[in-house]
């Protein structure tokens, strides 16, 4: 590159995780019907209450319509052209990792998630989900010593049916929205975490979601319960191969925290985003909600959203317990033709509840990035407080950023504070850094990480460095 060339000439870094694992899978036929719902439930040998839960959700879904209020656009999704269940043909979940298909272990290793006894991460327990099923969970025994349950939701349905029956759908009712209804009808796998009273989980827990099949929908379901005084930090990572068709991903995550308990939930989302023309990529419609049931309970959502063609996601907190705390820290980056409509809902029910929203949107290329958030103060939320800060950074002059903050208050003695700003990475700023010997990429990454610092500070350490690199990578070639 000569000095006359613009930085836009830098080649975009290809998506690193775009490979497909060649493995025999068992798939059911395309399409959705009551029979398909029954089939999924039968394949998973589920108890009757769960089949009923699914069927009720399916019927609700039939009555509902796809929401159209988000600032996103896409060709209509043909729900009959999706496969609702796909699993690698290793029949039963293996008792030991040695029995897991080596191809699967290899796949996760390639993704930076070694699972084998010798190589696994030393401070994090991992549940690895491949298409519709969980293939392995590490450190289960060690966690069990502390009374912590960490397993796939399918296993939990078998081994801890009473907990699932009590908590599943108690935070996000199946008819909450179109996608939660769909998920409740056909959900495949995901993680279940239960931290008993008084226990601080001895290590971070993490689920890694991998989509492999091209025509399969992903409908994970995650449920985390922290009993009185318990606490856990949970991380979620996701990648998918590059296909030129769009895949639907509609997950539901429910968090329940009782008195004095806390859950810190961090996500680094790196689903395939489609190419620079907007072909392919994941449609990510996710419902994440936490319920602070007990007094002084605490939920913190931290998300770094860099992938997906479309992101529709509003991790929320229902702050019911007195003095409970909800937090939402988000970095959403869109490039090329990506669209993100994301934010948070903080529903203050109890007195003196507090919430913080820090949202950083970065839009580059022709992408569109919207923050949409709701802060609601109920009639009993005396002395409740919210602070929201929504900052947008524009890179180039083709990208769009919007902020839609909604505020509803039925409590005069509650305070709501909202700040918003928009900035642009200008060619002059980059030139300034370059003229001091700092390379282009490092210059972009310095500016972007500076912008995201408040959020990155919330991430577990190893994730923060990862997130930093990921953003730099995603932005390569986007500033012209």
């Amino acid at each position: 590159m000569t000095s006359a060339a613009t930085v836009g000439d830098l080649v975009s870094q290809p998506y690193k995780y775009g490979f497909v694992t060649d493995i025999e899978t068992e798939k059911i036929a395309k399409g959705l019907s009551e029979d398909v719902v029954r089939l999924i439930s039968a394949k998973k040998e589920e108890p009757a209450f769960l089949l009923d839960f699914r069927l009720r959700a399916y019927r609700q879904w039939l009555q509902m319509e796809e929401p159209d209020w988000a600032a996103i656009g896409h060709p209509s999704i043909d729900y009959q052209n999706i496969i609702y269940y796909a699993a690698p043909k290793q029949q039963v979940k293996k008792a030991s990792l040695d029995e897991v298909d080596p191809k699967l272990l290899e796949t996760f290793e390639k993704l930076g998630i070694p699972l084998s006894e010798q190589k696994r991460l030393s401070n994090v327990a991992v549940d690895a989900v491949f298409d519709s099923v969980s293939i392995a969970t590490t450190y289960k025994e060690k966690l069990a010593e502390h009374g912590v349950i960490f397993c796939s939701i399918s296993e939990a349905v078998k081994d801890h049916a009473e907990l699932i029956e009590r908590y599943l759908g108690s935070v996000v009712p199946s008819n909450d929205n179109y996608f939660s209804a769909l998920n409740s009808a056909v959900f495949s796998d995901g993680s279940f975490v239960f931290i008993p009273r008084g226990v601080t989980c001895p290590m971070d827990l993490s689920t890694y979601f991998r989509i492999n099949s091209g025509d399969t929908g992903q409908f994970e379901r995650t449920l985390i319960v922290a009993e009185e005084g318990a606490s856990v930090s949970y991380l979620e990572g996701c990648t998918a191969p590059m296909f030129d068709t769009n895949q639907l991903h509609a997950a539901v995550v429910e968090l329940i925290v009782l008195e004095d308990a806390s859950i810190k939930y961090s996500t680094v989302q790196n689903w395939y985003a489609g190419d620079e023309k907007g072909v392919g990529g994941i449609y990510n419609f996710v419902t994440k909600r936490g319920h602070c049931r007990g007094d002084r309970s605490h939920i913190s959502w931290t998300q770094v959203e860099t992938g997906s063609a479309i992101t529709w996601k509003y991790p929320s907190c229902v702050l019911q317990g007195a003095d409970s705390v909800g937090e939402f820290y988000s970095v959403a980056l869109t490039n090329n033709r990506q669209q993100a409509d994301t934010g948070s809902k903080m529903i203050h029910v109890g007195p003196r509840t507090r919430s913080t929203i820090v949202s950083k949107g970065i839009s580059a290329g022709h992408s569109s990035n919207s923050y949409r958030g709701l802060v609601q103060m109920g009639p009993k939320a005396v002395g409740a407080r919210n602070y929201s800060q929504c900052d947008s950074m524009l890179i180039g002059d083709q990208a769009a950023a919007n902020t839609y903050p909604y505020i509803r208050s039925q409590q005069p003695d509650a305070s709501i504070e909202h700040e918003a700003s928009t900035c642009r990475i200008s060619a002059d700023q980059l030139f300034y850094l370059q003229s001091r010997g700092i390379g282009f990429e490092e210059a972009v990454s310095m500016m972007v990480s500076g912008f995201c610092r408040d959020v990155f500070n919330q991430l577990p350490l190893e994730f923060a460095a990862e997130a930093d690199k990921l953003l730099a990578l995603k932005l390569e070639g986007s500033v012209g």
Binding site: S3, S426, L433, S435, F440, M446, M447, F451
Partner: protein, 280 residues
Amino acid sequence: MIRPDAPVLLEICDLRASVEEQPILKGVNLTIRAGEIHAVMGRNGSGKSTLSKVLAGHPAYRVTAGSVHYRGEDLLALLPEQRARIGLFLGFQYPVEIPGVSNLEFLRVATNARRQEQGLEELDTFAFEDLVRERLKVVQMDPAFLERSVNEGFSGGEKKRNEILQMALLDPLVAILDETDSGLDIDALRIVAGGVNQLASAANATLLITHYQRLLDVITPDYVHVMAAGQILRTGGKELALELEESGYDWVDAELERLEASAPEGLAAAQASRTPAEVG
């Protein structure tokens, strides 16, 4: 200090450059040797900042003809960051603010990029803090500025001091200072000029872009160049600046007209590119 045998650091030959297809530089010639201090003066809009940015490699400007050699090397073939690493420094007329990027961290990364090129060891946070505290004295700057974001909320004068601090850290061979004096109060002018004098040596060179004699009272130039319509119209010693202070730039129009008459093919281009203010 003029030494005819000193090595040439920067050699600009017939440099022409455009912005958005509009020619701004129309054949600049300039040779700078080690140890020299050059001053470039000229009316607003004559192309002084453009020259400095073209030399530093700003992507908005397109070089259409001519050459620039930096210690014999083709400068124009290098990326802006490479130019900086080998010792070219531009003190900006309008330093930009970079929110969120810590000034200290920025200075450290920049200094290390230059040091690596010089074959010096990389400085860790602690070693760098020691160095920066020492260099702060050159510009008598409050260490509190290190904790802030790059130039964010700095006053005009503080930004200029931050530029000289960077110069003091980067140890350039050719420093171009674009109106570093404007916006400075009397004390700050003395401090900044003192800093520039302190950093000048027989091995490096300085190109000062300025409108005012008061800077040249403190930093004595070896050469003074007058820029007009994208060219260096006249070159002289330090007395040329005094002359300009006395009689202004009126002579420039006559001179330009004479040039245009002698080179009719350049006339249209020269006319078209002049702003109404310049013409009027």
